[in-house]
Amino acid sequence: MALTATGRSTSTHATRVLGIVTLAGVAWLILFGLFLSPADKNQGESVRILYLHAPSAWLAYLAFVVTAGASALYLFTKKHSLGWDRLAGASAEVGVLFMGITLVGGMRWGRLTWSVFWRWDARLTTTAFLFVTYIGYLAVRRLGGTFEQRARRSGVLALLAVLEIPLVHFSVELWRGLHQDATIMRPNGDVKLDGLMLFTLLSGIVTFTLMYAWLVIHRTRTLTAEDMLDDVGLELALEERRRESTPPNIAEKGALLS
């Protein structure tokens, strides 16, 4: 991905427009989520966390899919363009952020509604696994080596996660199916979403998607800049290294001993 002409920031005209639209979306969401949409019959005001929690869960999964897709594109296209690798990394970082929001939001909601922080339901538990898996993915990205090594290693890991996460999700679903109380505790279980509430939820999803796009674009560009900086760092290191081959000045050495 080419960096911008300004060289100072990672913004372009397109991302500024995107950013403004996103901010508008956030304002819209706050308006509808906190004020205009009605409280729920059963849960009262605490249902409003849903407008934060559900979209961020959606984003977490979207981010995961994008990371996997970008990794596949890096590994299986002929060009092996590193831009895909950076997109994968950026999406994973933003995804981890949204996964964190999902988990905290979910715990808060659970606390308010059912007085428990953690409900062992399929989605929340799988999100927790996704969270830890991606922290591991990010750790592997930081192992060092050439950019190609990083891209290949983390790319393969992302694709393995595509196998692993559905398996974990399926396992957890089967598992929770054993427990009757799961049906009472299902996230949207006793919330009837229609009319304005549904509209607010959908706006939330749209807004969060825009936010995701904005964050990922900027982060990808930052990663590109970091990689370029690394290359420059390599150049400097190479020069230093080559300088080792020229012998030091003997006269200077003499002066040290006197």
Binding site: G144, G145, E148, A237, L238, R242, R243, E244, S245
Partner: protein
Amino acid sequence: MGTDAGPAEDRPSSTVVELDGAVAVIGRFPALAGVTLRVDRGDIVWLRGPNGAGKTTLLRLCAGLVPLTRGTGTVLGCDLRTERDRLRPMVGVLGHANGLYLDLTVAENVGFWGATVGASREEIASVLDRLGLAQRLAPLPVRRLSAGQQRRTAIACLIARRAELWLLDEPHAGLDAAGRDDIDSILRQAVASGATVMVASHEFDRAAPLATKALDVVGGIIRPPVTS
């Protein structure tokens, strides 16, 4: 100690290693900062230089164990950027460590490595024999051997694997005079059978008479070659 015929395709018969501006990075450190060299078949190349100069990395680069960050390189007809997998079976590396399984016996170690290339029992027996490992030492676990004996076992593994390019890092280290003589004669015989050898060594007295070519590795590059 015949060399494997290798893939049936035309390979430039004389050039075994060709590097141009090769840069190799270990972690964040540019161990090789632009190496240009050429090694022909049958050469015994002596790599000299201070510690930390990049000799070990250069050997590992030629073995296909380290990726090429910049520049180009071809070893035994394999492009170092894309064909490292194909290169590796044709190369034998003897590093600071010996690459042995300490709990297995000498015979088991050599047998294992020979088996990876389909060597017959007779071949393995003859390798053990020629390196003086056959009678007393063969059934001993490698852990019980002296440094010199372990080194000889490692070389036996190398021979059993029928490598075409031998990359040795300080092969004389820790050996007594007789052991060193052994190494020298083994290397000469390997070359006579068609292998090529690159040796990194601090042992002036040993390497100089052995080598056909000497290269100074300093600061990750090769200084203009000195006639040996």
